[in-house]
Symmetry: C2
Subunit: 273 residues, 2 copies
Amino acid sequence: MTLTLDRLSLNQATVKYADLGEAIEVCVANGITGIGLWRDRVDEVGVESAFQMIAAAGLHVSSLCRGGFLTAADHDQFAAAIKDNIEAIETSAALEADTLILVCGGIPAGSSLVAARSRVADGLDAIADRARQLGVQLAIEPLHPMFAADRCVVSTLDQALDLAEPFPVDVVGVVVDTYHIWWDPRLESAIHRAGDRIASFQLCDWVVPLPADMLLGRGHLGDGSIDFGPIAAAVEQAGYSGYVEVEIFNADVWSAPAAVTARIVGDRFAALT
Amino acid sequence: MTLTLDRLSLNQATVKYADLGEAIEVCVANGITGIGLWRDRVDEVGVESAFQMIAAAGLHVSSLCRGGFLTAADHDQFAAAIKDNIEAIETSAALEADTLILVCGGIPAGSSLVAARSRVADGLDAIADRARQLGVQLAIEPLHPMFAADRCVVSTLDQALDLAEPFPVDVVGVVVDTYHIWWDPRLESAIHRAGDRIASFQLCDWVVPLPADMLLGRGHLGDGSIDFGPIAAAVEQAGYSGYVEVEIFNADVWSAPAAVTARIVGDRFAALT
């Protein structure tokens, strides 16, 4: 895959402690033209201002994080989740984001894996129309199976594709995030199957040992166990030609200055090509 | 599945700090007739003495842990692993264990996931003849994908079955361990496919949040997120009628007296039926 710098996007979570202004600044300073946004940081300045800041800097929004959390067994909680997702869809449209990423949610107390998975399908049914109306492509993100209980019952790319299948490609796609699916023995065939359902391609490495907070066990590209070449090649063969986001949750990366992190992200990305 | 007490086996790792004598004692005291052994505890008394102690107590060895670790890229290390596995096969035969469990190994430094997986197949080729000669059934254990980098590159039941397929069923089987594969969206079809390749069925629960040492995030049956009924039913439909082991790695469980742990194991197992 030609991972040229013009395809790199910095996910805002990689520079967690930077506000939107600083995140934009370090992108521009490092020749990074894409940015993946998080709703909390967007809300700090307001959606309209955020869009103006990003446009003025010449950046493009490769994704908005995030919608999802559609597994509530309680009726009111499920309804609140739908409402929140509709708002996220509207924000995504206003930011002209390439896609709205969905982290689907874990198993609520007293429920089961099977029931929670079924509610994800119900939730997609409930929000897909609004996405279609606004031209927003949703992206179901399979999370690593170690998060199946408490964060995301969608654990493989194939499962995400099964959930996406009833919907048009431009309404419901999937995320290929190396951190979450690198281990999958069926990954290559799943990426091939995904084809133009791939709405987002995210990179970060798997470092061992994982830290106490499993969420933060992610590393700069090259610091861990993932062989990015074959995955990137498969994503390219599947036809994906959009931005490639680097998204790293790691306490050490976060505590580094945003400018340093953005430079390393760019260097490591360039080293992959 | 009729999880009657006569099918329960206590894996010795569940009472980690008990020696073989005490482990046998708490099994007998709780009406548990099967025991899953670990080689280090067997070696403490010697294989022959261990077998005599177990036979005298009227117990049956449902599994021996463990062989495997077949992914070394270094020639000498790989050869040493083969030698160790041959010894484990001989120990398994001497103990009349139902199966020898294989944890296949992680990614060595400088190697890749794909290369490591290929060496597992090479390793099976190198040890299968000795297993066949001695009538020992090997059991490939898929470990949770969170261990793919550093412990086991075999991450799903389907992948274990792909590795087992070239060999006769009575030489290479697979382990169904709820902790490692409960999240798999294809689990039911994989268990159906496994059929009489199922050499071992192990139970333990998935508790959240995981502790700092991921290896120890396992709980007594009922303390976590796993719905055991459908998995047990699928295993029964696949034709498995052997022992059902409870194997729990958990610092709190380990620090409890072995007699208490064995009683809880029996009670929770009975509550599932």
